[in-house]
């Protein structure tokens, strides 16, 4: 059923990049939880794979001197969910990681693979959008940095050339105090399910308890993950009330552009965008220490 013509197992990043530069048909594979499924579904023949899951350069989660959190792209979801830097500073990403698939998939699937797969339903995407993540892409030619908001082009299509590897996901330094975050995934089942809609929120409070900054992002609400800038604008500088929250939810729903399919109607997804954005932001606000007025 699986027709693999060649499996490269480079031991260094340089070697992997050289292989990709030479072999135009080679595809990077990490955990394989998307690629293997696709290979079976399409009965792909003569597939050439470059395994990147054990490249040391792509592993590990660290904090640099400026306080940015650098996530190796081949970090598994389990590694992301368990790392103290994630748990303490960006707990929404832990929630997102644990919402993806089930324990078995979390143990092999990587956050970089999730991003490169280009799905609007990617469980990491809303959180990374809300955190203003930037991506480091490396090829034999050199290195470039792309904000995640510019990475997703269309369903399954991302801003990555052949020969490039996503090496790191960088979460820029953000204030650690008076900051809260949340991710809420709606799916029919509690495991092994695709998100019907996902909403991530990050909130930073001013000393007076008003909202200094707000970020709201959605997954499965359009062809690509998205930020809801209008909803954020409504919130910034204000004290949070139920009315304000519901207005923000409505703005988020207005920004959403989901499609109807047999999986869920656009109307239902719009309801979810409104409901979950408000819920996620409220949770983020409360985690930041805020009190509703």
């Amino acid at each position: 059923v699986y027709s693999v013509e060649k499996l490269y197992r480079p031991s260094t990043l340089i070697e992997a990049l050289d292989i990709l530069a030479e072999d135009k048909r080679a595809i990077p594979i990490a955990g394989g939880t998307d690629i293997i499924v696709k290979m079976r579904a399409t009965r792909a023949k003569g597939v050439r794979l470059v395994s990147v899951s054990s490249l040391v350069d792509l592993k590990g989660i660290e904090e640099d001197a400026d306080g940015n959190i650098i996530i190796g792209a081949a970090s598994t979801f389990t590694e992301v969910a368990e790392h103290p830097l994630i748990v303490e500073n960006v707990p929404l990403l832990k929630t997102a990681a644990l919402s993806m698939g089930g324990p078995q998939t979390q143990n092999v699937a990587t956050i970089g693979g999730n991003v490169c797969n280009g799905a609007t339903s990617a469980d990491s995407a809303p959180s990374l959008f809300a955190l203003d993540a930037v991506l480091e892409l490396v090829s034999a030619e050199g290195r470039r940095i792309v904000p995640i908001t510019e990475f997703y082009i269309s369903p399954g299509k991302v801003n990555k050339m052949h020969g490039e590897l996503l090496t790191h996901i960088i979460l820029p330094f953000g204030r650690r105090t008076n900051r809260g975050s949340s991710y809420i995934k709606m799916s029919t089942r509690n495991a092994m399910d695709i998100s019907t809609l996902g909403s991530a929120a990050v909130c930073v409070l001013d000393t007076d308890g008003s909202i200094q900054s707000a970020a709201i992002a959605l997954g499965t609400a359009g062809p690509t993950p998205m930020r809801c800038k209008e909803a954020e604008t409504v919130l910034v500088g204000k004290f949070l009330t139920n009315d304000l929250l519901s207005e923000a939810g409505k703005k988020a729903a207005a920004a959403a552009n989901p499609r109807s399919s047999w999986r869920a109607s656009a109307t239902y997804r719009k309801h979810l965008a409104e409901e979950l954005s408000a819920r996620a932001f409220r949770e983020a606000f409360e985690a930041a220490g805020g009190t509703m007025r």
């Binding site: 029919t188 089942r189 092994m192």
Partner: protein, 760 residues
Amino acid sequence: MKELNVVGKNIARVDAAAKATGKAVYVGDIRRPGMLYAKLLRSPLPHAMIINIDVNRARALDGVESVLTWKDAPQIPFTSCGHPYPPDTPEDTLILSQRMRYVGDVVAAVAAVSPEIALDALDLIDVEYEELPAYFTPEEALAEGACEIHKGSGNVCGENESQNGDFDGALAKADLVVEDEFKTPIATHNPIEPHSQLAELDNAGRLVIHVSSHIPSILRERVAQSLGIGIGRVRIIRENVGGGFGGKQDILYEPICGLLAIETGKPVMLELTREECLTTTRTRHATYIKLRTAVAKDGSILGREMKIVSNTGAYSAHGHNVVLALEQKFRFMYPTPNFRFIGKTAYTNIPIAGAFRGYGGPQVFFALENHIDHIAEILGKDPLDYRMQVAYKPGDPIYSEHTDLNSCGLREALQLGADAIGYRELAAAPKGNGKIKRGVGISFALCGNSCYPYANDLRGARVSMNEDGTAILFINCAEVGQGSDTVMRQICAEALGVPNDWVTIISGDTDLCPFDAGAYASSQTYVTGHAVKKAAEACKNEILDYASDKLAIDRARLDAGNGVIIDLQNDAELCPLGEIVFRMFYGDMNNASTICHEESFMPRSGPWTFGVSFAVVDVDTGTGKVRVVKLITAVDSGRIINPTTAMGQLNGGNILGIGYGLYEQILIDPKSGKVNNDSMLDYKIPTFADMPDIEGYFVETDEPSSAYGNKSLGETPVIPVAAAISCAVHNATGIPFREIPLTPERVLMAIKAAEEGREG
């Protein structure tokens, strides 16, 4: 009930260690030298005639050994319904047909040296179709002028009407007439082991098929019929079965695999993919149910009517039998002398519906119980109180054909469940101020114990003694994961008077084991259990006769227990049973014989098994997501033979019911007739992360018509669950639900509609 030595004890499953360590062999594990792999070309169209088919390119492909189309297969119609002779649904199925009746119907079969080559060969078959009008709902298929899916059928697979008393008179007298319409989804079994078969010829040229099936004996008869060969020319060997739930109680792909083996003279393996398993095996019938009840002011039921239309899909399979089975449940549960039942089963161009654990029970109880709640709501009565008022109670007239009611723990189960869940507190508690609303729901369940009096439910068993007093039990009773080998061994050991581990089981081989109609109708412990007991007792009697003679003790004083011959008069242990048996083989030069008895049993009464579920749910009114918080099920299953395996059956059935109530539905594209959700991502069965707190209880009655007071269990626990959950969601939200599954979208849209209705 008297305590017994082996029956009623928690004994580990016969196959537990082998399955847990991976040593158990399933069909897909078998390898033969020179074995071929089969793949099937399937129709892309829901309804079409093959007007031309060219297999030359496929046959020419290196490694391809056989390509079969309808022109190469016997055109002998049969029914795939795995019930004993005579056929009880239309014989409308062929191994390979010129006419395609659903997306996935088999166009051609290929056997090749590898599965990859077989798949490549499918791409080389050129088919020209003449498209025919296709219908996916009974409404379309039964419309006037619709194209007949089966000639002469009018697209009706089966229908029946029955009535008693005067329903119209009851309507006229009623203070209240309540009407509801319900719709249930197409669900599918999705066993962890896909349908698999390996066919080969033995040295005498007989066809041997290794199968994953509920019905070895029936399969042998039907494979022979479909291929036009003698029953004795076929041997069925049931390997370990990785789940069936009724989905392997049909004749599915065994005949085509057998035909490929006959054509090639080589072993042929046919394993379905997960996608094929989901879309081209069997499903639970989708139904449309209308209930109408005439009620007096005090709530008493004066008359009842049920109209049901069931969708059997492309071929009859179990067809209208499912409606006939659920009719009995309708008639019994809320008794009134005035009732009318009108049932019809339609052919359509969708995947084939068959037997599925519960056999119409989950559908009818979903409708019945939500309807009862509706009546209770109008009357202002509590759902539990109202059920206590109108549900069957011992002494009530019985309107079902299950008339021999000698044990009934229904009321005890209801009380036990209500107490265990704390029903009164829950019913009185507020539903919740925030977005999460809590509710509680109740549903009964009923299940028969065999197909009596509708089918010839013959089951056999043979017990053969070893020289040391240990024994071998031969049965064709099908172990499909439910634990039948384990409990049959217990029954055998008990009846023989030996320890459990003295009995070895050989089951599921039509050459070695006696005829057994198979694992369906929750009947095996009730029916085969009798045959096992009779055969074991016959051996014991022979042994005790001999012992009486040799020990010079009156036969009436002797019994055996735990492998020892006992003097009943003073409870003295006389001698090891093994010693007597050994002497029977070797002790007398002039008078020795082997000890082996085969017995059979056919049920002559039809008791009911009773159950009740209570579900507590939290409904998120912002997303529509339903969380089952707690599920309590109490079952009167008679005496429990093995509490551990029984609880496994109860929990497993409950989980299936949760899936049916909340998630599972086969979605058919209304344009192409193709199944949209042919993967386990999109055909959503519950995961461990979705499991509520599940508790099960048994009310142990003593059923006199069974071997040890036992009654059926397999199907009962799935029947009340979707009903109880949907009643609980109604209780939580105040919104009635008339269609399952209660997907988040369905629930949220109903909540929004209700809100708009209130505002508007």
